[in-house]
Amino acid sequence: MGRPDLSVHVAGLRLANPLIAASGCFGYGVEYADLIDLSELGAIAVKGLFLEAREGHAPPRIVETPSGMLNAIGLQGIGVRTFVSGKLPELRARRAVVIVNICGSTVEEYAEIARILSDADGVAAIEINISCPNIDEGGHTFGCSLTGVRDVVRAVRAATTLPIFPKLTPNVTDIAATAAAAEDAGADAVSLVNTFLAMAIDVESRRPRLSNVVGGLSGPAIRPIAVRMVYECSNAVRIPIIGMGGIASARDALEFLIAGASAVQVGTANFEDPGIWPKLREGLLDYLERHGHTAVGEIVGTVDLSARETATWVSS
């Protein structure tokens, strides 16, 4: 008998394993081709793309914080058409499963990008970055209002038959409601979480440490909040959940799977250790074997609440 089966099915998509490179933390994928075999990743969520090329923010774009980092890249990107013509062919040649993370400043822009990707060869799914604030349009974020979420997801749904995964922002009061709204609007799965809006100040100069003043917090620091959000969403929707936020070890990935994620993404940890992928796979296999499982799917959403009566949702 062989080792446990790591493959998972997410919204019709078959992934060799549940480990996905998180958007914006793995470039367009091709950057890592010299270092690792891209086809061994469950999938690659490429850097967020707008319709046109974007310059992004001035440096400094990142700063480290306790067990985390802030980033304000500003979604620098080459634009979806250049991606399709310039990067997709190599990704296809390397047999990478490609999830394209898309951004828009208008609902129509999201739809337009989705149409372009539908005609492209080698796109497995679309991850809709509604969690990224609506750039320079007053800073209002689609993902922070239920109508905003519905509008974007409906428009993309109408524009493509590819699996669509809205990526939820954690900067909301009720993320389960956002997930439900995405499900209603036709999402095939939801990805969560994106980064937490945050800020760091250099006290000597009193200047913000990021040129953009605020940025997104990622890394192990946010993991407990992300796990809670995945757990809440898994109780609120029927569609699969792709969980992320501070995963840096197989143990961390397992926490998300047990909380209810069908697959997970790894972002910040890939910066520290680009060789993390085989370690994560080995750690998952070892856990499944120790616990007598034949497939990773068996542990998804298996939080054991038996030890207690009924959850009273109190934080302090």
Partner: protein, 272 residues
């Protein structure tokens, strides 16, 4: 193209040169043997430990055993914060997580073109390997090396042994010529006239900018090695961008297209 490797390297030695500077010798032959002048490594004391991210360091020396076989590399580090402090305090036997070689190297010219290297402080780091490559081709090579004071100037004999002409400056005048490294450079440029010449510079941004301007005025090509904050070193995070003037002002990743840039390409006004 070199294939970067990530090794958990043993620290063979730590030479503390002052209260701030140290040279760390690490056993990473698989990286050292493919490193080209100007390339860098991303290092960290241990995975899964604070601070989270690795830090970029130029490869200083390629270390060889008695028979000339490559045994590892060294880093020239200046304490400015958390990780450089760890590197300063490291003990032989400690481990260092080291990923490399990374980045676009310097151009190594051929005779009769001459090579001038301009280093400010810890900016000396990429020039030990460049000097070796240039001298191996018997290129007439000069090092302009400036520091705050005499104690901040290191490894000068190493360059002299290679047959590099060394011109030293210190701001306090305790060694070499008093003042900025750009002063003798300007003088020599005037003297050199139309000689075929390439300039390489590494150090504080204001110095690099001054060198780039002097070179441009004299009509010589110049390569500068920049030091933006880097999150990954591999092109994955887009944190290390530098604004370049070609193709309409745009940000390019210094970890891939750099850290070595043509001076004329850099949008100096945007470099903080």
């Amino acid at each position: 193209m070199a294939r970067p490797v990530d090794v958990d390297a043993r620290i063979a030695a730590n030479h503390r040169l002052s209260h701030a500077y140290n040279i760390l010798e690490i056993e990473a032959p698989s990286i050292a043997c493919q490193t080209r002048p100007g390339q860098f490594v991303m290092v960290k004391r241990a995975l899964g430990r604070e601070p989270l991210l690795r830090r970029p360091f130029s490869v200083f020396e390629i270390l060889r055993d008695a028979r000339g076989a490559v045994t590892g590399l060294s880093l020239l580090s200046k304490q400015v914060g958390a990780v450089t402090r760890e590197l300063f305090e490291a003990q032989p036997g400690d481990r260092l997580r080291c990923l490399g070689p990374l980045g676009t190297p310097f151009t190594v010219v051929n005779r009769p073109t001459r090579a001038w290297m301009v280093a400010g402080g810890v900016g000396l780091a990429p020039f030990a390997t460049l000097a070796e490559a240039l001298r191996a081709r018997e290129v007439d090579t000069t090092l302009f090396y400036g520091g705050r004071s005499g104690d901040d100037l290191y490894r000068v004999p190493f360059f002299e042994r290679l047959g590099v002409r060394v011109i030293l400056t210190t701001e306090d005048g305790t060694r070499g010529e008093a003042g900025r490294v750009t002063e003798p450079l300007a003088r020599e440029l005037d003297a050199a006239g139309g000689l075929p010449l390439t300039i390489h510079a590494c150090g504080p941004t204001p110095m690099l900018r001054a060198v780039a301007e002097l070179a441009a005025r004299a009509g010589h090509p110049v390569e500068v090695s920049l030091e933006p904050i880097m999150g990954c070193g591999l092109g994955g995070c887009y944190s290390c961008v530098v604004r370049v003037l070609d193709g309409g002002a745009r940000f390019v990743r210094a970890c891939i297209e750099g850290p070595v840039f043509e001076g004329s390409r850099v949008s100096w006004a945007d470099l903080t």
